[in-house]
């Protein structure tokens, strides 16, 4: 008995030792700054970092009463509403259509997965060129006269489209691999029992990839909440602040203008939102597991 617990403890020790570097990194670069931001969000701090006094909740009330922040929060919600469903439907559709390996699916796979290999900023710049002005490439192709990036609605549309494009490759790969790793025996059995393709897809395949699907939805949600770089490059929050998202607001106000109050309060808020959505997600996940 004694030796067994000793052995077990030794094993545990080993595990912790292996974890140590990541824990140390996480502590210095994540937990410590986070705690510091949390504490600082209740203080008034000068741009050069001097503590000027205790602020209570003032930094928070100020943030919520700031028209720029409220506008950014609203735009982020708008983006989430358009982006998450569209992204999910399109990637699921592409993965569904190419889930079975046939002749030629390799070409489709290559095309669908290719967005993954080019960097985000490169795509954002390409989009910016394609949609620039009334004589844009897109307008020439479709002989339209839309001011894509100068009108509010089309600009949001282009941003959502870019977002889908950026996430498409990874989500597609995850979903097709999920489809392909499902147990073929179950499908074969269902076929023998006389189930048609539709029935097999909706009652067997889709439920089997549900976990991966919810993972991609969660990833999409995360990307939507955090979206900043595409905004910075493509629209700069414009036209007329209509595509300013929370993280873009953070970028211009906290990062560019050095507003410490916004820096700290917004960091804390965004972390809270993440912990919350992570919690909901993992609860749902474990709930699903219990049911299956």
């Amino acid at each position: 008995m004694l030796t067994l617990t000793y052995m077990k403890r030794k094993e545990n020790m080993k595990a912790y030792l292996f974890l140590l570097p990541s824990l140390a990194l996480a502590a210095t670069f994540l937990f410590y700054p986070l705690m510091k931001a949390f504490a600082s969000s209740f203080l008034t701090i000068s741009q050069s970092g001097k503590i000027l006094g205790f602020a209570g909740f003032k930094n928070y009330t100020k943030l919520f009463s700031d028209s720029g922040f409220r506008n950014a929060a609203l735009n982020t919600i708008k983006f989430i509403i358009f982006f998450v469903p569209l992204n999910t439907v399109l990637t699921l559709l592409a993965a569904t259509l190419t889930r079975k390996k046939r002749k030629g699916t390799a070409i489709a796979e290559f095309i669908f997965a290719s967005p993954i290999v080019i960097s985000l900023s490169a795509y954002a710049l390409i989009f910016k060129e394609m949609f620039r002005g009334r004589i844009s490439i897109i307008n020439r192709i479709f002989s339209s006269e839309i001011n894509w990036l100068s009108d509010k609605v089309p600009a949001m549309f282009v941003l959502v489209f870019l977002g889908v494009f950026l996430d498409f490759g990874l989500d597609y790969l995850l979903l097709t691999s999920a489809f392909r790793s499902t147990d073929k025996n179950i499908i074969d059995a269902a076929k023998i029992d006389g189930a048609d393709d539709r029935k097999i897809y909706f009652s067997i395949e889709l439920p089997l990839i549900k976990r991966m699907l919810s993972a991609t939805i969660f990833l999409a949600l995360k990307d939507a909440i955090m979206i900043s770089s595409p905004v910075i490059i493509l629209t700069e929050g414009g036209p007329f602040r209509s595509t300013e998202t929370i993280m873009f607001y953070y970028y211009i106000e906290a990062f560019k203008s050095g507003n410490r109050a916004v820096q700290n309060t917004l960091s804390v808020l965004m972390t809270l939102i993440f912990i919350l959505s992570m919690a909901i997600y993992s609860r749902r996940r474990s709930g699903n597991e219990k049911r299956t």
Binding site: T44, Q47, G68, T235, G238, P239, F240, E244
Partner: protein, 436 residues
């Protein structure tokens, strides 16, 4: 007891950690000799090429004599240079950084900045209005280098074909806008004007009123942190919005915030407002499709005689080493400023350039390049660009505000209150974080 494997693992971890830590210890060694002067700049495209040539000719000429070399590093837009400067300390700062007015408010409080007024450089030869762009209560923050002014760019071929002359006021502009514009059915195929004014343009539209007006107090923030917004109570923003709305209501103003020069070059707008520094780029992108004209910005009304503020950028120094000073002197010299102006459209900040025969014959052949310096020199030298905290938010807010008044018919007084509110909120939180 730790086994052999464990030891190996631990030592690997230790090595990796040390390697990671060494990444953070790459500070530059103190170099008392300072043979290399590092300059962070923001010049790209045509101006980037011109700047490279200036550096090259230093390194192959005077630099060789003195044994100094300029190491010019492109760091993105002027504001990106500022972001990097703000993230740097003594060890990682360049010797000189080229930044614009948005840097002023930060540099004014920087502990690393070497005030240009403390450097052993005589500023007698510099244009006074170019210097005033960098004057704060502490002294001169930077030396002007790439000076520019706002200009009215117009399609001269079109104006000539309609026998129209350049509008002097916004009212005159509104009167001719329907002639300049073109419609097919309901959609406008050619605007009379494209673009939405924001902080930069408003410094001129508001600043020129009544001979001299400011956006915020303390002379637009130059003599101290601004504490209140002036354009509201002085009625200058109202005057502008009223006239601008009338121009918009002709139906030929395109509220476009991106790609305006593309629209201009493709003949889809008869005019636009842009910095004189774009002159070379605009002419080359129009590529002879029509003749480009530039002129002073139409005035808000007859009393708006203050002219325009000098924009562009300056050179901020972070030490007063002799070699840094030598490079600054070189970059602002009459000869370099002449080359720079001819290549870009920025105008010379050194009075000596205006006396050089080469420059005089250049502007005789290229009269467009002389509009900006003439316009700037005839302007009120007290009219300066504005130094504001939260400059980006305010920049985008102005555009959104003008869009609401023009395209969405917001009541002008409500719009003014909204805009005053935005800026006063920014001033308040800045004051709270910095004055207490």
């Amino acid at each position: 007891m730790i086994g052999g494997n464990m030891k190996k693992t631990l030592s690997i971890i230790a090595i990796l950690l040390m390697a990671a830590l060494s990444l953070f210890a790459n500070g530059q060694k103190e170099d008392n000799e300072k043979k290399t002067i590092v300059v962070w700049h923001c010049n790209t495209g045509v101006t980037g090429e011109a700047f490279d040539k200036i550096v090259e000719s230093f390194n192959n000429g005077i630099g060789k004599e003195y044994g100094i070399e300029i190491d010019a590093i492109y760091q993105g837009k002027a504001n990106d240079v500022l972001t990097k400067v703000k993230a740097s300390d003594e060890d990682s700062l360049p010797d000189i950084a080229q930044m614009d007015a948005t840097a002023a408010i930060d540099m004014n409080y920087s502990e690393y900045l070497a005030l240009a007024s403390d450097l052993p450089i005589s500023t007698d030869a510099f244009l006074d209005s170019a210097l005033s762009a960098y004057r704060s209560e502490k002294g001169l923050l930077a030396l002007p280098f790439n000076a520019s002014s706002l200009l009215f760019y117009y399609n001269k071929t079109l104006f000539d074909s309609l026998s129209l002359s350049v509008p002097k006021t916004l009212e005159e502009f509104a009167a001719i806008a329907p002639m300049l514009g073109q419609k097919s059915g309901d959609s406008v195929t050619r605007y009379a004007f494209a673009g939405v004014p924001t902080t930069y343009e408003l410094t001129t539209f508001i600043g020129s009123q009544n001979g001299l007006s400011y956006i915020v107090d303390n002379k637009n923030g130059h003599t101290g942190t601004p504490t209140e917004v002036l354009f509201g109570k002085e009625g200058t923003y109202k005057e502008f919005l009223t006239k601008w709305k009338a121009l918009y209501d002709t139906g030929y103003v395109g509220n476009i915030t991106s790609g305006v020069s593309t629209e201009f070059a493709s003949g889809r707008t008869a005019s636009m407002l842009a910095s004189s520094s774009n002159l070379t780029t605009v002419i080359s992108s129009v590529d002879g499709a029509f003749e480009v004209g530039v002129a002073p910005v139409p005035m808000v009304n007859e009393n708006a005689t203050g002219g325009t503020a000098i924009g562009g950028g300056g050179l901020f120094a972070f030490n007063d080493h002799d070699n840094t000073v030598a490079v600054l002197e070189y970059l602002t010299s009459a000869e370099v400023q002449r080359f720079w102006a001819e290549a870009t459209g920025y105008f010379p900040i050194n009075k000596g350039t205006y006396e050089s025969e080469e420059y005089l014959s250049f502007i005789e052949e290229n009269p467009l390049f002389n509009i900006a310096p003439e316009y700037a020199m005839s302007s009120n030298p007290l009219l300066t660009n504005v130094w504001l905290p939260s400059a980006y938010q305010i920049y985008y807010s102005f555009q959104a505000n003008i869009q609401k008044v023009t395209a969405e018919n917001m009541n002008i007084d409500d719009a003014i209150n909204e805009m005053v509110g935005v800026i006063e909120d920014a001033l308040d939180s800045y004051a709270e974080q910095n004055i207490n």
